[in-house]
């Protein structure tokens, strides 16, 4: 297994560990809503950008992955949804407009920065005509929709044991 695959595995282990360690038990259902709804956005969006030839993921977790599915399983079904869980669970409720903008930009900016670095130095992701600001804006829109959906869903969620 080459170094980049180990890296990818490392990201996955890290994000999965984070979700189990850092999400409190009584927020398990909140996390499920956030995690699952984000996939509903990232799944078709990921398929669309790959279908258009804008983004490619030459190195995937399994060497045979690309023969079956050329979107990134790790990114769309694991890392991005987990980022979204933390984004909404730690969302500053009291923040005014300016604070919210800063929060959005800090999260999505960091995320985009990581992707740009990976694009430049690894074959985990390659842009073909794709630009970093498209990642930035699509991640902002996805997180925004996810957060709004969560706020709606949450109105009927109650704290329970287990």
């Amino acid at each position: 297994m080459n170094f980049e695959r180990w890296m990818l595995l490392g990201f996955l282990v890290l994000s999965i560990t984070a979700i189990f360690k850092l999400v409190p038990k009584e927020k398990a259902r909140d996390a499920c809503v956030l995690f699952l709804f984000l996939q509903m956005i990232s799944w078709p969006a990921g398929l669309f950008v790959v279908e258009m030839g804008w983004i490619e993921y030459p190195t995937q977790l399994l060497s045979i992955s690309n023969q079956y599915n050329r979107t990134s399983f790790a990114f769309e079904f694991c890392i991005f949804p987990i980022v979204a869980v933390f984004f909404s669970l730690y969302y500053p409720k009291k923040a005014k407009f300016k604070g919210a903008i800063i929060y959005y930009l800090a999260f999505t900016g960091f995320f985009t920065f990581c992707e740009v670095i990976l694009e430049k130095y690894t074959t985990l992701v390659e842009y073909h005509g794709w630009k970093w600001y498209w990642t930035l804006s699509s991640v902002i829109v996805s997180l925004f929709l996810n957060h709004k959906y969560y706020l709606w869903f949450k109105k009927r969620l109650v704290k329970v044991e287990g």
């Binding site: 509903m40 398929l47 669309f48 079904f77 109650v158």
Partner: protein
């Protein structure tokens, strides 16, 4: 062309059924079921493909994936939502047993029909009893998850 028609009909019918027949007080239960089923069946679809049990000759995203999109993003989750919405609560074991089988067989019949009349799906060495069984397992997982989730819903 046939494939596109089947997909359009599947989308329209699923959306119409979901909008029309989900009682308002079960809205969030239906939502979480839909979301969970699409994730579980996506993995199920991927495994079937990896094991060479199935092929999807006609696909919405032809280049990006060898998997079908609508069947597991929409059709299966819609079945799942009605499986949960119509679940016989406080009824006997036999009634629950029948409920599971009706949905597992219903899903299989849908797959048999689209296999026969379109190139949306082609099953390889994956006969219908095995598919009924795998559908039963998925429905059971869905039921466990949703019933756990519901404890935190009012």
């Amino acid at each position: 062309m046939k494939e596109i028609l089947i997909l359009i009909f599947s989308w329209l019918i699923s959306i119409a059924l979901l909008l029309k027949f989900i009682p308002k007080e079960m809205k969030r239960t239906a939502h979480i079921t839909f979301l969970f089923v699409s994730t579980v069946t996506w993995i199920y679809e991927y495994l079937q493909l990896l094991l060479g049990l199935v092929e999807f000759p006609f696909r919405e995203f032809n280049v990006a994936t060898k998997m079908s999109f609508s069947l597991y993003y929409l059709v299966y989750p819609t079945f799942g939502v009605f499986f949960i919405t119509l679940y016989p609560m406080e009824k006997g074991r036999l009634r629950i047993f029948i409920h599971f089988f009706v949905f597992a067989i219903g899903l299989t019949i849908y797959s048999v029909i689209i296999e026969k009349y379109s190139s949306l799906i082609t099953f390889k060495k994956w006969d219908w009893p095995a598919r009924v069984l795998s559908n039963l397992i998925i429905l059971y997982i869905v039921k466990r998850f949703v019933f756990w989730f519901k404890k935190g819903l009012v």
